[in-house]
Symmetry: C3
Subunit: 212 residues, 3 copies
Amino acid sequence: MAFRLTPQERGFYPLFTRAAENIVVAADELAAMVDAVPADRPAIAKRVKEAENAGDDVTHEIMVKLNSVFVTPFDREDIYRLASSLDDVVDAIEEAADRIVLYRLDRLPAGITMQVDVLRRAAVATAEAMPRLEKMSALQDYWIHVNSLEDEADEAYHAVLAGLLSPAEAPTDTAALLEIIKLKEVVDTLEEAADAFETVANTVESIAVKEA
Amino acid sequence: MAFRLTPQERGFYPLFTRAAENIVVAADELAAMVDAVPADRPAIAKRVKEAENAGDDVTHEIMVKLNSVFVTPFDREDIYRLASSLDDVVDAIEEAADRIVLYRLDRLPAGITMQVDVLRRAAVATAEAMPRLEKMSALQDYWIHVNSLEDEADEAYHAVLAGLLSPAEAPTDTAALLEIIKLKEVVDTLEEAADAFETVANTVESIAVKEA
Amino acid sequence: MAFRLTPQERGFYPLFTRAAENIVVAADELAAMVDAVPADRPAIAKRVKEAENAGDDVTHEIMVKLNSVFVTPFDREDIYRLASSLDDVVDAIEEAADRIVLYRLDRLPAGITMQVDVLRRAAVATAEAMPRLEKMSALQDYWIHVNSLEDEADEAYHAVLAGLLSPAEAPTDTAALLEIIKLKEVVDTLEEAADAFETVANTVESIAVKEA
């Protein structure tokens, strides 16, 4: 754009950065929670919930700003999509953490650790990219990176799904089957978080292409 | 907006009101259905289905009007989102009613009654707010109310999920576990309806902030 | 629109046609897979995956074009929605194919064949309609047809759900129940594909109404 943005309009950039940094916090807490002994998990889940609340506040701030400023640094729909998909990431992370505690899922399969690890790396990549939105610098590296992380997340998801639902030995009692049903919900939710990271990256690509 | 809307363009307001009043009908029928003896439920589910069909007609009318008028009372995307999220509410209510009958879920846990009760109150709040869109009056009270109802819905949802999936006594036979799987689908669908009410409220807030 | 589109801007039409023709390929492969003996399915699932990848490429081409051209043949949001919903169709078809193999679902209920058959017909109707977008000819026939196919898909979905979850004889062992859980995921995913076809049709209607 040829004209200069006022500080008010430039205010979107720090908000996106805050939203992404908050996702790093949520993903780190989720990783800590998966590693922790079951007794420690409720306290950690609470901190994930706090990150989700902090994320809601940032999303709300972005939406209010979006609706009240006349000029935006990029398309309104792109700002809306970027804020919504960042919000979707933290919502899914919080839901996964919540279910682990609510369902008393004491034993988590190794595949969940792998899924969470990919989420952490996607979170860091996203938090590093957001401040570069203003200068539109090195964004292509970011979205290519997140797309490859999404492939990694898909593989981890597949492996854990196969292990849960097509195990070498089928579950012989209803308690074991109920456990599978509950774990599948967590695993699906983690995959949703990975998908939402990809939507964030696609939106950034969309913004960058328009500016090019 | 400084210029005056023609009757044609103002025609959106009664349509949103009709959509929301129709949701009240659907939510009331769903509540009646949950209270009814199983033998009476198919007939009530049919009336919920009729409300869903009526909702589809209103949504379609809004979309056709949106695409054919040149001037709209607020942003096209907001009209699209408002109509879509009202449609999502009635779709979820209908799906829940349908599954209760299709799956022959004779005994419904008390938590479902609580979820449906919150939906009814959200429906009434929404139907009361829609006519106020034209004058943009007292809308903040509405969206704060719906946001607090959404918190209540979340709590009911959590309680019923914990009761179903982490019961004091684990199900010992496959029939009981199948029942849990089916009830979980209903419970999840009711939570989707609550979420869709929140999206309606967020969209109204978005519209109101722009007009302020 | 009164002005003439350049070849660059008209380039959207062949891309939508390619996306829809690619869905026909994916749906045909899925149908072949459902008919095939289990041993042949992994190879066919691979071809469905290739169709999904081809679809991703077309979607990406549409989005890049959308972001880089100044004039579009119809509303940007409609192009975005049309491309996204075509992408959703092929994603759901691929996910269904993938799960059948991943979960080693050797025996598929007849209802799944019916669901897939409706998807194939919706795919053909969509592929025939896309080239007519440019002249806006005979589009109403198409969306009425897809809406009636969606009703047919709903019926097939209902029948297969009832058969799976409210069977005449309840499953008596956990292996049978696990099978039901896995089949339900496939059946739900096929219903998502049918819903996405309806979104494609609704978007085409939306575009046509604006142009009228």
